[in-house]
Structure formats: structure tokens, C-alpha cells
């Protein structure tokens, strides 16, 4: 069963799409279940203006991509990368064991964003 956050974000994802001219791209894959997610970002002055995704995966991983995009729009990048593990868990709500890998996906998305920040590319 899926919690309401997952149902809402999976059944009607608002952030799917492709940007012709993205400022940054984050791509991750889960070797076990084969989930793949690509996020594209438009930024200015350390703020994320727009985030879109493409995903191939289970319902929860597609929902996770949408939740991530939704949560970063309009936010300063350095505050996004400081989110705690608890905060990330709350973003997805209660998960079944078979869905826990999506918390790992969400964590990875934040880590990749932090790595971009650290490398000074954003």
C-alpha cells in the first residue's frame, strides 16, 4: 500500500518534463531495482527556479522524484543541502519495507546536489 503523499505525487506528478537549456542535471540509478531518475534544474543566484524530472521506476521512486522537484523550487540551494535525515524521511511519509529504497534515492538526490555545491558549480 502507498501513503497519501506517494499517491498524490505519483498519480498526478506536476514536475515531469525536459528542459532544453538546463543549468544542472542530476542523474541517479539504483542497481538493484533498476530505478533511474534524471533531474534538471534552472537556477539563479543560488536559488532553484525550476526543477523537472524524468524517471523510470516503481511508483514510489517516481513520486520521490516529484517530491524532490516540488521541494526545491524557489529554495536557496544551501538550505536544501542542509536538510536532516529526519526531514527527508518526513518528506516521503511512512514507507513499507519494499519502498524504503526510495528514501535512499531521495538522500542521493540531496547528496548529488550538495556535491555540485561543494564543487563550486552552483
Amino acid at each position: 500500500m502507498y501513503n497519501q503523499i506517494i499517491i498524490d505525487n505519483f498519480s498526478n506528478p506536476q514536475h515531469t518534463g525536459n528542459l532544453e537549456l538546463a543549468d544542472y542535471e542530476i542523474e541517479i540509478g539504483n542497481p538493484v531495482c533498476g530505478d533511474r531518475i534524471k533531474i534538471q534544474l534552472l537556477t539563479h543566484d543560488n536559488f532553484i527556479d525550476k526543477a523537472v524530472f524524468k524517471a523510470w521506476g516503481c511508483a514510489t521512486s517516481i513520486a520521490t522524484a516529484n517530491i524532490f522537484c516540488d521541494s526545491v523550487c524557489g529554495q536557496p540551494i544551501n538550505s536544501i543541502t542542509q536538510r536532516s535525515a529526519e526531514h527527508l524521511a518526513q518528506m516521503l511519509g511512512e514507507l513499507e519495507p519494499s519502498q524504503h529504497h526510495c528514501l535512499h534515492i531521495l538522500t542521493q538526490l540531496h547528496e548529488k546536489l550538495a556535491a555540485l555545491l561543494k564543487a563550486g558549480v552552483v
Partner: protein
């Protein structure tokens, strides 16, 4: 049965709704509180329910009533056939032949016999049609083969196995033969006497009866040990006070199937053909797994790979947005492992195709318009998922 409430149910191979007639017969049996094995006036009524049920099931299979033994369902019947036959050889554990595509209730008792009791096993693989090969079976027979257990129809693909030919070979070699017919009973006519197998399992909830009741047909009771010992019910072959209410349900389900099977079968087949035609004409890429023709597969089952999608996501959208239930070939089970269909794996499908595979199974409460709405929803949701995943990150290889 208000069929509109369940028009989105396409998982009849998992379980079927109880028919109104079955429900009625169970409700009327609930008052039969007496123990059917006692010898007072009250118990006579309960006893009649049980013996009438045995007659009805026997008629459905075309066998004699005393050869029917009630169990708690398909799982128990399969466990009993395997352990009950092999325990006759416990002093000299030999060899078992089965297929790679059996239900867990056959595979797991066999695994138990291998690991705990020292038996050996050969698993016969199906070809891409989903059926095992009779020549492979012949080649697998050893001097010490003590049991052949092969399912009649596969639950995931609906593909029918060459049981009649296998039974003939088994008899030529005097090897007892068990058939898990759980998926075939109630979908296709079955004559177990003509088939000439030694043991055959069925389960009521796969043909509009209640859960938790089934039976094992046993040709010769001296050839098998009881699985459950106790008070001597079922000719001391399967002890335990009978579940009269469930038996009444099975009885009615068998009676209804006996009367309507030709009609159901015809109707399912016409729906299946319609569904195949609609899917082939749809703007999505589908591949049917295993045989789909009338002779080689159940008329109510289709196993379909839909290129480019993840079945798990498709099933979720079908349920969330269309109240439609299907079954899938692979699912994430936790962070580190994945459960992929052993049936599709044995048929040679690759991982990506298994992840893109669904099982659709329908039944007597499915209507033609439900089939059409189903395909419409399936195509629309497939297109949504393809649009979410396009642009090169999601190659299907």
C-alpha cells in the same frame, strides 16, 4: 453479485469473488453446528452436507466420491501429495521430477524433502511457449524416480502443460503422478478418470468458492501416507473436524462449475481474443508471454510485456486512478533484493522484460465492456508512464 463493483478486478487467478449461490449455501450451512462425525440426529444434516459435497466435487472431476479428500486448500493438497507419497520411501529417498514453473506450494515441500530428507530433484524447464517438453521428462526419469509432480495450468501465464502425455509416461514407468490442477479447475472441462493421474489438487477459491477449502483426489489410498493425523476423519487420511460451512461452499462452487463450465469457457475465450485484438491495435508495444491459443492456454489469462514501462508503476496507476487490479511479474521486495517471477525467468525472459510484465486474469463476473475499459485504461496509463520516462534515460535493455 453486483458486478459493477468488481468490474476492475483482473486478478481472478489470485482469487475469485464468492458467487451468490455459494454464499447462500454457506449461510444455510452455518446452522449445521453438529459434528459430522458424531452419530446423533443433529450430525446427520452436517454429514449430508459433507457427503453431498464429495459427490459434487467427484462429478466435476469425473471420479468416484470416495477418492475425494477435503483439505484446507491447494497448498495443503500439494503438500500432502508430495510428502505423503515420498514418506513411503523414507528409508530409501530417491528422485523427484517437477517443473521449474510450479507454485511455491509444490516447490517448497519438494525443497524440504531435498534438504531435510535427502531426496534429489530434476526441474524441467519450459520453452518460450511456457510449456515443458515431454521428451525432457522422458530423459529425466531415473530408476529411482519416486514421484512426478507437474501443474496442469500455470498461474502466471495460463499455459497448459502436457499432462495427459506425462501421465502416460509415468504409468509406463510405474511412477506415481501428481497434478496441481488448482488453476485449471473451473476454467476448463476436466476428466480425471480419463487423464489417469494418481493425485490431483484443487482449491475452491479459484472457482468462486470460499478460501481455506480444497481437496486432493487420490486414486489409491494405500499409495500415500496421511499428512495430518488425529481423530480419523476423511477415512483417517486427513484428520480434523470438518469445516462444514466451507465444504458447503466448495460443494456449490463445484455444482455451479459443472453446470456452467462450457459457457464460462466460451465467454472467457471470446473476451481473451477481444483483449488480444485491442492490445495489438493499440499504440503501445506489447508482447504476449507464452502460448495464447485456445488449446495451449487458459482462456482467462494473459501475461503481457509492455515495452518501456515498469509493471509495478503501471499496476499502481491502474489501481489508484481506475480501481483496476492486475498482478505483476516483479516487484522491489526491500532495499537489497528484488523478487522476479521464477516462471518468466524459466521461460527465458530478460530482467527488463520481466519488470515490464503484467498478468491479466478475468472470470465470470467480467463483462465485455469491462474488458474494453480495461484496455483503454491500460493504454492511457502506459502512455503516461512512457511520457514520464522518455528522453533516453529509460532504454528497455
Amino acid at each position: 453479485m453486483k458486478t459493477e463493483h468488481i468490474s476492475g478486478y483482473f486478478d481472478y487467478n489470485a482469487t475469485t469473488p464468492i458467487s451468490d449461490e455459494v454464499a447462500k449455501s454457506m449461510i444455510s450451512a452455518i446452522g449445521q453446528f453438529a459434528n459430522p462425525s458424531s452419530s446423533n440426529n443433529y450430525s446427520q444434516l452436517a454429514k449430508t452436507v459433507v457427503s453431498h459435497a464429495r459427490e459434487n466435487v467427484a462429478k466435476l472431476l469425473n471420479v468416484k466420491a470416495p477418492n475425494i479428500f477435503f483439505t484446507s486448500g491447494g497448498t495443503e493438497a500439494n503438500n500432502w501429495a508430495i510428502k505423503g507419497v515420498l514418506s513411503k520411501h523414507s528409508d530409501q529417498p530417491g528422485h523427484i521430477i517437477t517443473s521449474a514453473i510450479e507454485h511455491a506450494s509444490v516447490h517448497d515441500p519438494i525443497k524440504y524433502c531435498i534438504q531435510q530428507l535427502g531426496y534429489e530433484v530434476t526441474y524441467l524447464k519450459p520453452d518460450s511457449s511456457g510449456a515443458i517438453n515431454v521428451a525432457d521428462l522422458k530423459g529425466a526419469i531415473r530408476a529411482n524416480t519416486q514421484l512426478i509432480s507437474v501443474m496442469y495450468a500455470n498461474n502466471e501465464t495460463g499455459v497448459i502443460q502436457p499432462i495427459s502425455a506425462i501421465a502416460k509416461i509415468a504409468h509406463e514407468h510405474s511412477i506415481p503422478m501428481h497434478v496441481d490442477a488448482v488453476q485449471l479447475v473451473g476454467k476448463q472441462h476436466l476428466d480425471v478418470t480419463a487423464l489417469n493421474v494418481d493425485y490431483l489438487s484443487l482449491s475452491a477459491h479459484k472457482f468462486y468458492g470460499p478460501k481455506g477449502i480444497g481437496c486432493l483426489y487420490i486414486k489409491d489410498i494405500s499409495s500415500i501416507d496421511p499428512l495430518i493425523h488425529g481423530g480419523g476423519q476423511e477415512s483417517a487420511m486427513r484428520s480434523g473436524t470438518e469445516n462444514v460451512m466451507a465444504i458447503a461452499g466448495l460443494s456449490k462452487a463445484a455444482e455451479e462449475a459443472q453446470q456452467a463450465i462450457e459457457q464460462w469457457n466460451k465467454e472467457y475465450w471470446s473476451y481473451k481474443q477481444h483483449m488480444i485484438a485491442l492490445l495489438n491495435a493499440a499504440p503501445i508495444k506489447v508482447k504476449f508471454n507464452g502460448a495464447t491459443n485456445y488449446i495451449d492456454a487458459l482462456p482467462n489469462t494473459l501475461n503481457i510485456t509492455i515495452e518501456g514501462i515498469r509493471a509495478e508503476a503501471l499496476a499502481a496507476r491502474m489501481e489508484m486512478l481506475h480501481h483496476t487490479i492486475i498482478s505483476i511479474g516483479s516487484a522491489c521486495s526491500n532495499n537489497k533484493t528484488k523478487k522476479a517471477s521464477h516462471v518468466l525467468t524459466a521461460m527465458g525472459l530478460n530482467e527488463v522484460d520481466i519488470q515490464a510484465s503484467i498478468r491479466v486474469s478475468f472470470g465470470r463476473f467480467t463483462s465485455l465492456s469491462a474488458i474494453e475499459m480495461f484496455v483503454q485504461a491500460l493504454v492511457a496509463e502506459t502512455q503516461v508512464l512512457l511520457s514520464i520516462s522518455e528522453s533516453g534515460i529509460c532504454k528497455s535493455n
